[in-house]
């Protein structure tokens, strides 16, 4: 009996010491995983995920506090990539956080704009140019389509314009063959 206790106690002391040493030796500073997750997110900084930007959402995912299906701009493809990275199941985009929309850019109707600068302050990527009492305009190339400029506008002069397909952005379609309707036999 005594020997049993002694043996187990000895084992506990040796293993405990080894683990204690390892915990000090292999301490991890920071979380490099966040960077990897952040690289997958679309960087619209739109906050639709419920976090104040892409980086905080990435941090939440890394900590396991957020699901991977809360990013509508990233869409199905983004969820798939996150699932791949993290070895989690691919899920449907969570409906409460929004739906996947075709990429659009904000457009300011310059006839209506009163130059209040509220949208400039809202834009997370500084893609709106303008000054107080001057007409504002969007730098379309830099607009991420986050829609954050829509709510602050007092005169509702901003609208989202879907990007039209051009010869440069056109993509070959998935090869699908149209099934021809059966020709009716005429009696």
């Amino acid at each position: 009996m005594i020997s049993a206790i002694l043996v187990m106690a000895l084992g506990a002391i040796v293993l405990g010491a080894a683990l204690g040493y390892a915990a000090v030796k292999f301490r991890v500073e920071g979380d490099p995983l966040v960077e990897k997750i952040d690289a997958i997110l679309p960087q619209t900084q739109c906050g639709q995920c419920g976090f104040p930007g892409c980086k905080p959402y990435a941090e939440a995912i890394a900590k396991g506090e957020a699901e991977i299906n809360q990013c509508p701009p990233g869409g199905e493809e983004g969820i798939r990539k996150l699932a791949d990275l993290l070895g989690r199941e691919v899920k449907e985009l969570s409906a409460e956080h929004g739906i996947e929309k075709p990429k659009a850019v904000a457009f300011i109707d310059e006839q209506i704009c009163i130059g209040c600068t509220l949208c400039i302050q809202a834009c997370p990527v500084d893609a709106i140019i303008g000054a107080a009492k001057q007409m504002h305009t969007i730098v379309a190339d830099q607009c991420t389509g986050c829609e954050l400029c829509l709510p602050p506008c007092p005169v509702n002069c901003i609208s989202m314009e879907p990007l039209p397909e051009s010869v440069e952005t056109w993509k070959w379609k998935y090869p699908v063959f149209a099934i021809k309707p059966a020709t009716k036999e005429v009696a």
Partner: protein, 557 residues
């Protein structure tokens, strides 16, 4: 010149029927200028040229109408003299059926050239020559339309071992290079000589497939006087005209994945490009036309010298398309792409307008499952595993497709040609490639957005700090001033803190007083009697309004 040259072999390939006889029976004809020329601005790989003209402008033949956008781009010129009627979106010769910016010119019938001055490339720096060629709109005319000036650069070593000139023209039906070599061999060789000088290339090998004896004879005659320049007859096998394949056949060099042929001292150009360079440099003519084969379902197949911007409909009208024509294909039957309409213009990439009919190109049999027979791998000239690429492209697992080197696929169509299950393999590869490109673009945009967002956060933080610093400085200055004022008064009964506070309050009161003084009406003295009367009237009106408003106001507490 029967020099013995050792030939090598490339893997795979197929031997489809040539179908080249019909269009080589007659010499090149000049296609007349149409009623309207529609010249797309984007005709080469790289940036879209910026338009230099607007509606109403008169242009001369060869006048620049589109300026190269950056160095990876190529200029565009008016193909004939006339009036610009519009710069607008028009249907492009592109499978998508989407419009792009085009310059529409109404020819005046005079076909009047700009002043053409030959370019003295021997007394120009290489950069000047390359810029000249960029502004002359010279691009690769084999079909890839890569700006030639970018390829005419020998690189760091300053010289090249071998310049390969591609006259193989391996795709069925297409004969534009064949007739060019037959009829304009001298000029083409002059162009080759210019390129050789620019590249400081040791030897020149002109590869021509053995099914073009007339072109071989003409080119051999033309190169006879040139040193280290030889016409090499290569066996006819599709795609011997692919750049990497021809380099392999002629030199034995296999350009590996991720490398360029120049890394191995070889550069490859099409014969049509050589001729265009001759015209641009020796004649001072920018690229405004090219030879186009019209073949397929037509009564009179032939090669035409066509002005860029000529609608394909005008071109096939010259050849009498048969009544059952149902499609136009730009390029050949293996790599060509179907045109959305016959109104699309001929562009620099148009080597052939193939007229199709359901009989000539019957609809493909239904696609059957892949049985992994490996025929496609045997046929692939790029040594890829097409069945694996298909497997992953079809399942949209693009990462894996890239691991199997999807981007080394030259889309030659050999795999689909031999597939016993009739799978349109190339369509799957094109789909996968464009999806991957789109994703890369999205990724780039996201990275840029991240940088901008992080800068914004940094800027906001910095502004906050600056504001705080300004405020602190102001407060400190105020305190100092107040303390100095107090020190002169000298009241020992209070602590220094209380002094400072008191001083602050005093200073604030002082400021408030000053402000009040500022705000007080200043022009109340020395008024004329009229002005005083006016003021009195205004005051009376105010009092009246106050009286009127009283019942509506809440009672005073």
């Amino acid at each position: 010149m029967s020099m013995l040259h050792r030939l090598f072999n490339f893997h795979g390939g197929v031997k489809p029927a040539y179908n080249k006889e019909a269009s080589t029976q007659q010499p090149i004809a000049v296609s007349p200028a149409p009623t309207f020329l529609v010249i797309p601005l984007h005709q080469s790989i790289g940036g879209t040229p910026r338009p230099l003209v607007q509606a109403g402008d008169k242009v001369l033949k060869g006048q620049r109408i589109g300026e190269a956008d950056g160095n990876v781009s190529s200029a565009v010129h008016a193909s004939t003299s006339g009036t610009v009627t519009a710069v607008e979106m028009r249907l492009m010769p592109h499978t998508s059926g989407l419009p792009a910016l085009c310059v529409v010119i109404e020819p005046d019938g005079r076909d009047e050239w700009i002043t053409r001055t030959p370019f003295d490339y021997r007394n120009a720096t290489p950069t000047q020559t390359r810029d000249y060629l960029r502004d002359a709109g010279v691009v690769g005319l084999g079909g890839a339309v890569f700006p030639s000036h970018l390829k005419l650069n020998p690189g760091k070593s300053g010289k090249l071992d071998t310049l390969v000139i591609n006259g193989a023209e391996c795709e069925p039906f297409i004969t534009c290079d064949d007739v060019l070599m037959r009829e304009r061999a001298e000029a083409t060789v002059k162009g080759i000589a210019i390129m050789r000088e620019m590249l400081a290339a040791g030897r020149v090998l002109v590869g021509i497939e053995d099914n073009k004896p007339e072109a071989i004879a003409a080119m051999e005659k033309a190169v006879a006087g040139e040193k280290d320049m030889a016409v090499i007859v290569v066996p006819t096998r599709y795609p011997a005209g692919g750049a990497k394949q021809l380099i392999r056949v002629l030199t034995g060099i296999e350009v590996p994945h991720g490398k360029r042929s120049t890394d191995y001292g070889v550069q490859c150009f099409n014969v049509g490009t050589a001729y265009a360079i001759y015209e641009a440099i020796a004649l001072g003519q920018p690229l405004v036309s090219r030879i186009v084969t019209v073949a397929g379902n037509v009564e009179k197949a032939r090669n035409y010298e066509v002005l860029f911007g000529t609608p394909m409909a005008d071109l096939i009208a010259l050849c009498d398309a048969k009544p059952d024509t149902d499609r136009l294909i730009m390029g050949g039957p293996m790599m060509g792409v179907r045109m959305p309409a016959d109104s699309v213009p001929v562009v620099k990439a148009t080597n052939c307008v193939l007229v199709g009919s359901p009989i000539l190109f019957p609809p493909p049999p239904p696609e059957m499952p892949c049985i992994r027979c490996g025929e496609c791998a045997k046929a692939c000239p790029a040594d890829l595993q097409p069945f694996e690429l298909y497997w992953f492209s079809r399942a949209k697992i693009f990462g894996k497709a890239q691991e199997y080197n999807l981007f080394d696929c030259i889309e030659c169509g050999c795999c689909a040609y031999v597939c016993p299950s009739h799978i349109p393999l190339v369509d799957y590869y094109r789909f996968a490639k464009s999806e991957i490109w789109a994703r890369e673009k999205e990724k780039e945009a996201a990275d840029e957005a991240r940088v901008r967002y992080e800068f914004r956060l940094f800027r906001e933080e910095r502004e906050k700090e600056e504001k705080a610093a300004r405020l602190a400085a102001k407060t400190a200055a105020g305190r100092e001033k107040a303390a100095a004022a107090l020190a002169s008064v000298d009241q020992p009964t209070t602590t220094p803190e209380e002094d400072a506070k008191k001083a602050l309050i005093a200073a604030a009161l002082e400021r408030a007083k000053a402000q009040k003084a500022d705000a007080a009406p200043q022009n109340t003295e020395q008024l004329t009697s009229e002005q005083q009367a006016e003021i009195a009237a205004i005051e009376a009106r105010r009092a009246e309004i106050r009286e009127m408003a009283k019942p509506h106001l809440p009672p005073d507490n």
